[in-house]
């Protein structure tokens, strides 16, 4: 297929690489900062090495008009570019990744620590992520953990192996007594080299890797990959497949939100909801299983549609299961959010202000609980799909209670959306053949997953082969939000705050 050269484009569109405006590094930084000052959001920043040069791409979302735009700049291999992280904290992690993956220095970066690569760990010289790290690069300043000094200040180190059945990460708290001054979150333990595997894999096998990036985000990541592949292959996905995919995506959201609500109740010792919610989540996982054959929805999506058709009897059964679930979940929530012991722990805990949320570029539940009105389902609907008809659930207070309320409201909303979709399910095929991919093109897939906007970018070579693939899980942007939420809190509230964000380590580390 051939591509026109749009200045701005929509979710699920492929653009020719050559059509991306290329500017000098300084102008690149200034233009991005200016665009963000007038409401744009950085969704992706990555580097593409070729020969002795490195090209940087930035992907901006213009939520108010539902469009995306890209900008490029070039520097020599081993060169540098002016960092924008001080002006746009949302880019700090992306710039660190560019540096450690490609050796291009973001000049003036305030906190150029390794993000995912820790040779000291790999050499077996300890499990502490301190000390000299990252690819040997004399330009990288040494970065010990941030320290607060003074009488009575002490340090608490947690992880990488945690007390629960969860993924690994390292947390470093600076405290006076119970009060946390700062929390530094150090990740990278989960780095699997997943994107390199995805690029190297045969095309038919890539969805399985995308689905394994984040276990409880298999649908959102699988779908984002599908959107990229479909944009490059120029295919119109049949309507029935589009509708069923959205049903699966909302089921995934409900599953994650309900599990998380139960975990929050568990952390404040409200045991009735702590025991009921995992069972309710199991019902939703089984509903997802009924639809997809897998409790996390793997092996269901394929570029062009779905792997196999889904019968109407399955959909009728799904509607029935969800109706029962809706009643039971409402019972549990109304009890829990009416219990003074729950409210007193949720309210005012782990506050993130709207200004901080905006600066850090928080996404999903974390953003909406802090008053940021953004949701890719409304602002950047999937190709061929109608946007979310109403405003997303937004709360103003930015605390654990707000994040819990957003999850509850979204669960209800997703249930309604699924039921409406099941009632008006189009007939017809569920899979269309995907053509050969466009050469020298860039395609973007945005999906509002349960944690927020999942961003996938695929870049093809001249023959339409996959040259590079970049993934930005919402967790990459949201982890610093958790660090900010902990400031001035009691250290004992860390598990509660952590659960309220419910971030993915694997999605961050890839």
């Amino acid at each position: 297929m051939t591509l026109g050269p749009p200045k701005s484009f929509r979710n699920g569109q492929a653009v020719p690489g050559a059509a991306i405006p290329t500017v000098a590094p300084r102008a690149f930084r200034d233009l991005v900062i200016a665009a963000c000052a007038s409401g744009a959001r950085v969704c992706a920043l990555y580097a593409l090495p070729s020969g002795g040069e490195v090209t940087l791409h930035v992907l901006l979302a213009h939520d108010d008009v539902g469009r995306l735009s890209m900008l490029a700049t070039r520097t020599r291999a081993g060169g540098s570019f002016p960092s924008m992280a001080s002006a746009l904290p949302s880019t700090q992690a992306m710039e660190r990744a560019v540096f450690e993956d490609h050796g291009v220095l973001p000049e003036g970066h305030p906190w150029l620590k390794p993000l995912r690569r820790h040779p000291a760990l790999q050499a077996g010289s300890g499990t502490e992520p301190g000390g000299p790290q990252g690819p040997a690069d004399a330009r990288r300043p040494e970065h010990p953990f941030f320290r607060v000094e003074g009488a009575g200040v002490h340090e608490v180190a947690v992880g990488p192996v945690h007390a629960g059945v969860i993924e690994p990460g390292h947390f470093r708290f600076q405290c006076s007594g119970e009060t946390v001054h700062t929390l530094e979150i150090h990740l990278g333990y989960q780095h699997r080299g997943a994107l390199a595997r995805l690029v190297a894999a045969r095309p038919a096998h890539r969805t399985a890797i995308a689905e394994s990036l984040v276990g409880d985000g298999a649908i959102s990541h699988g779908l984002a990959y599908g959107v990229v592949a479909e944009a490059l292959g120029g295919v119109a996905v049949p309507e029935r497949a589009l509708a069923l995919r959205q049903v699966a995506l909302e089921l995934e959201r409900i599953s994650d939100h309900v599990g998380d609500f139960g975990a929050l109740c568990n952390d404040v010792g409200y045991l009735p909801a702590a025991s009921w919610c995992p069972r309710l989540r199991g019902d939703i996982q089984n509903a997802l299983g009924l639809l997809t054959g897998h409790r996390f929805g793997r092996g269901f999506l394929v570029p062009g549609g779905l792997i196999a058709p889904v019968g109407d009897d399955v959909l009728a059964e799904l509607a029935r299961v969800l109706a029962t679930f809706g009643r039971e979940f409402t019972q549990v929530v109304s009890l829990a959010l009416d219990a003074p012991s729950v409210l007193s722990r949720f309210e005012g805990t782990g506050v993130v202000s709207q200004a901080v949320a905006r600066d850090l570029g928080l996404l999903g539940v974390a953003a909406r609980a802090s008053g940021c009105d953004l949701d890719a389902r409304r602002d950047h609907p999937l190709p061929g799909c109608r946007p979310l008809p109403s405003a997303p659930s937004v709360q103003a207070t930015g605390d654990v209670l707000a994040r819990a309320r957003v999850r509850v409201a979204e669960t209800t909303r997703s249930l309604e959306r699924i039921q409406a979709q099941l009632a008006a399910m189009p007939d017809g095929p569920v899979r269309a053949p995907v053509g050969p991919w466009a050469g020298d093109a860039v395609a973007v897939g945005l999906v509002e997953g349960s944690r927020g906007q999942v961003t996938h970018v695929g870049i093809t070579d001249a023959n339409g082969g996959l040259a590079a693939y970049h993934v930005f899980d919402p967790s990459l942007l949201n982890w610093p939000g958790l660090a900010m939420a902990l400031r001035g809190q009691q250290i004992s509230d860390f598990p509660l705050c952590n659960k309220s964000f419910d971030l993915s380590y694997a999605g961050h580390d890839l």
Partner: protein, 254 residues
């Protein structure tokens, strides 16, 4: 303080008792569940490699037909590709084994997990405390392991429990392809568990690297020098598959 007892009791009543009966050979998962693949090599067409070519993890081999459950992520592509029904999926959840070789299916009778030797079983008594180490796990396996402890599967009733310290544990449960960045932490945790200790590898990742097999950033699962006592395949394994395997290992099933 207003106590909402009526609401609480009514909800308690309507939520009901949800714990499933003790797992046994008669336990059944729903039809949709993609469990044990069924191989009928006699149906293979000569020179057909459709299943092998369809598999994202190189789990299938043809002539003769073999399927390595340790690599399989139950994606159904092989069954969909097979023109003769020589390879189909069943909902049988009993997949765990005590030997790596037993995970290689050839169409013969299933080789299920064996009980460990009686001296270790006696030492453990009626409890098994486990430390979980996620080493590159995507949270699918971790989530299903946590589910095995909820009110539905309730592994606590068999004395099986996850604990917060390796010092309190009788063994570890490893998930993930063992990212290079986690290898040392995994070894340290293992060393911190007092002997006799067991090691359970959960999920395709921990057994073989799964879809990340071959990545230079991973170790293709639990390193070969660590002794695995139980392999629980799946991506992720169903909580019942995990329970089935551990109960067989403890000789507590049937």
């Amino acid at each position: 303080m207003e106590v909402r007892m009526p609401g609480l009791i009514a909800t308690w009543w309507s939520q009901g008792r949800r714990t499933v009966p003790t797992p046994s050979d008669a336990s059944r998962l729903p039809e949709w569940f993609r469990g044990r693949p069924v191989l009928q090599p006699e149906r293979c067409l000569p020179d057909c490699h459709a299943c092998r070519d369809a598999c994202p993890t190189d789990a299938v081999n043809t002539s003769p037909l073999r399927l390595d459950l340790g690599r399989c992520v139950a994606c159904p592509e092989c069954a969909a590709a097979c023109p003769t029904g020589a390879l189909t999926m069943s909902s049988d959840h009993r997949l765990a084994t005590t030997r790596r070789d037993d995970l290689i299916l050839d169409g013969g009778p299933a080789r299920l997990a064996q009980a460990m030797e009686s001296r270790t079983r006696r030492l453990l008594g009626r409890s098994l405390r486990l430390r979980q180490v996620s080493a590159g796990g995507c949270n699918g396996c971790e989530s299903e392991l946590a589910t095995a402890g909820n009110v539905v599967w309730d592994m606590g009733r068999f004395g099986i429990q996850f604990v917060a310290s390796p010092r309190h544990a009788d063994g570890i449960v490893v998930t993930g392809p063992v990212s290079a960045n986690m290898e040392q932490a995994l070894r340290d945790t293992w060393e911190a568990v007092p002997a006799p200790r067991i090691l359970i590898a959960v999920g395709a990742c921990a057994i073989s690297g799964g879809v990340f097999c071959g990545s230079p950033q991973c170790r293709d699962g639990v390193p070969a020098d660590l002794p695995v006592d139980l392999y629980v395949p799946g991506c992720p394994p169903h909580p019942l598959t995990f329970l089935d395997g551990v109960l067989r290992l403890l000789d507590r099933l049937g």
